[in-house]
């Protein structure tokens, strides 16, 4: 807390906080206003006398209706959901086992293996999609959801592994040793003791992985081509921008509805998520 005169509190705490919150929420507000703004207002020149960029007096649901009726938006949502859930499950499963092994088991080159996994996370996707495209073509997976389900883990597994590795390291070793003395095998100690204690870490890794897959753009753009296979991120940008015509209202409606699932997941698990990031385990 900032101590001292009242103005200090305002200058160093309240004001920056307000600026931060406004800066953070403004894009969402803009998205909402644009979604419900009629076309006539959207394309009104800024010097027009009745120009009102920050609010609208004639809200409409036309853009949402257009999005749902005239595009494959609901199909894209389903696709994205299917791909994100599967990619997250695969990555979490691998990340859990790898993270546990790297943080708990003693084997040669464990340290360099951990670093190696992290380095693969640093390879930019814009570079990796070229060889991956070749692999996808060879396996004849192009333009199917499996192209993404199987390629997303290339960046999700290293990410989950690293996050969980740190989390497992924070769990006292004695918990597991105690379980093993109590009669559990290593596998049982892992399943009954370590994983339940690591739930906040597992959930935050899952949320992150889900969000990363949900928002992923470049692989989805390259590996999928037919409209009914697309994900939300690619679908709305490719189907609602035609040539140089931007369907701003529907674009924003798509962006808004597309971010709802992620927002819901975050708000639902926020407590676990914070505990997972701050990594607090008490014995």
């Amino acid at each position: 807390m900032i101590e001292g005169a009242r103005w200090r509190r305002w200058v160093f705490f309240n004001l920056p906080l307000v600026l931060f919150v406004v800066g953070l929420l403004f894009p969402f507000y803009w998205m909402m206003v644009t979604t419900v703004r009629p076309d006539a207002e959207l394309y009104r020149p800024w010097m027009a006398p009745n120009y009102t960029p920050f609010w609208t007096l004639n809200p409409t649901l036309d853009h949402i209706r257009y999005l749902l009726d005239e595009t494959l938006f609901s199909r894209w949502m389903l696709n994205t959901f299917f791909i994100s859930v599967l990619a997250t499950v695969i990555s979490l499963f691998c990340g859990l086992l790898a993270g546990y092994a790297l943080s708990r088991l003693k084997f040669p080159f464990a340290g360099s293996l951990g670093t190696g996994i992290f380095i693969t996370y640093l390879v930019p996707q814009t570079l990796l999609f070229i060889p991956l495209a070749d692999i996808i073509r060879n396996f004849r997976l192009g333009d199917t959801p499996w192209a993404l389900v199987l390629t997303y883990p290339t960046f999700l597994i290293p990410f989950c592994t690293w996050l969980l590795m740190g989390y497992f390291k924070a769990i006292p070793r004695e918990l597991e040793e105690c379980a093993r003395i109590d009669g559990a095998t290593r596998w049982q100690a892992m399943v009954y003791i370590v994983f339940p204690v690591a739930v906040p870490g597992i959930l935050s890794a899952g949320i992150f992985a889900f969000t990363l897959s949900w928002n992923e753009f470049i692989y989805a753009l390259v590996f999928l081509s037919s409209p009914e296979q697309k994900t939300v991120a690619v679908g709305i940008t490719s189907e609602l921008v035609r040539g140089d015509v931007f369907y701003w209202g529907s674009l924003m409606a798509g962006a808004l509805l597309g971010s709802v699932p992620v927002a819901l997941i975050y708000s639902f698990f926020v407590e676990y998520y914070v505990a997972g990031i701050t990594g607090s385990v008490k014995g």
Binding site: P172, L175, E177, I181, A184
Partner: protein
């Protein structure tokens, strides 16, 4: 029979020889305490008995079985850890029941065992709570309960009281003693606190640098330390040491040093005669020093200057300077002394200790 036998036990960690040729026989129902400064190998020894650490060489027997290759779960032991190691996601009841569930006990048996242990420890009210809702003392009780319900052959304690505050530590110490008296399970207890070792152990094993220094009953260690390390480690405040020169004058043996000139009684003199002309380490326990009265002879007393006075209530600790050495004297609380006072301190000639300066062994 649940005795534990340790034969020629060694442990090396990447170049460090942490436990060196430890030999120990712990009898059925015995409470043995391993004590020593940190890094002395006591915890490593305990962890090897538990099966949490591999053995470099040697043998460990629990009951009549060699357990070297057995995983911890098959050794029929229970362990209490320093940080309690309670499973944070389970209730107290589930924490205590976990070991029994893993071993396939049926529900009614589990319930009755947990209830019995909870009664012994006075934690019946807390059974449905989570560990984070408990105080330090209660957590330690749950950790003990988790060990008790299993009815193991051997209890292993790894500094279980170190995380508790001083008052609670004394209380739990008594409790552990009572539980052991009641259950009679063989126990190995590791601590760095010599008071805990002396009060709990039927026998105490003093370790240093991976080597066993002495094994004995608490008073045996106090009264007959095998070497200078044990003498200094056991007893609080620690024993005073001074290097003295042995001289034979007119048939009597004298221990001399700047500020000290003691005529040794014939009983001790025989043991020390071979060191005449050489130097040995003299040890005097603080509680064996007292302020000299008129009847004390000059041959068994020396002058000291008081530098610090610590009034503990039941006794007063005087930090005094004797020649170039600092010594501590634990004297009666009635003694009136001020800083910088010059006192004459008398000692009990039967309670003098001498150690070889090279081997450090008691003479």
């Amino acid at each position: 029979m649940s005795r534990v036998i340790i034969r020629n036990l060694n442990k090396r960690f990447d170049g460090v020889h942490a436990v060196k040729d430890v030999n120990l026989e712990i009898h059925d129902k015995e409470f043995v305490v391993l004590v020593g400064p940190s890094g002395c190998g006591k915890t490593t020894t305990l962890r090897m008995v538990a099966g949490l650490e591999t053995i470099t060489s040697g043998e460990i027997l629990i009951g009549d079985r060699i357990v070297n290759e057995l995983p911890p779960m098959d050794r029929d032991i229970a362990m209490v850890f320093q940080n309690y190691a309670l499973y944070p996601h389970m209730s107290v009841y589930d924490n205590m029941a976990f070991g029994l569930k893993m071993r396939g006990f049926d529900r009614t048996e589990i319930a009755s065992r947990v209830k019995a242990a909870a009664e012994i420890l006075g934690i019946e009210e807390q059974l449905q709570r989570k560990p984070r809702q408990l105080s330090g003392g209660q957590r330690q009780r749950v950790a003990l309960g988790r060990a008790i319900v299993r009815h193991p052959q051997v209890f292993l304690f790894d500094e279980p009281l170190s995380n508790l505050d001083a008052k609670l530590r004394i209380q739990m110490r008594v409790e552990i003693k009572k539980i052991h008296d009641r259950l009679g399970t063989t126990a190995i207890y590791v601590t760095h606190d010599q008071v805990e070792a002396m009060t709990l152990g039927d026998r105490v094993v003093v370790m240093k640098d991976g080597l066993v220094q002495q094994v004995g009953e608490p008073l045996e260690l106090y009264n007959e330390p095998a070497n200078r390390f044990v003498a200094g480690f056991i007893g609080s405040p620690a024993m005073n040491f001074a290097t003295v020169e042995m001289a034979d004058t007119d048939g009597a043996l004298w221990a001399r040093h700047e500020g000290i000139r003691l005529k040794l009684p014939a009983a001790i003199a025989d043991r020390l005669r071979q060191h005449v002309g050489g130097k040995v380490t003299l040890g005097i326990r603080p509680e064996d020093l007292r302020v000299a009265s008129g009847s004390d002879t000059a041959d068994l007393s020396f002058d000291a200057v008081v530098e610090v006075i610590e009034k503990l209530g039941s006794q007063i600790l005087l930090d005094v300077r004797v020649g170039p050495n600092m010594m501590v004297a634990a004297v009666e609380p009635t003694v009136k002394a001020k800083v910088h006072d010059r006192l004459r301190l008398a000692l009990n000639p039967d309670r003098l200790y001498f150690f070889d300066r090279v081997s450090q062994a008691a003479i």
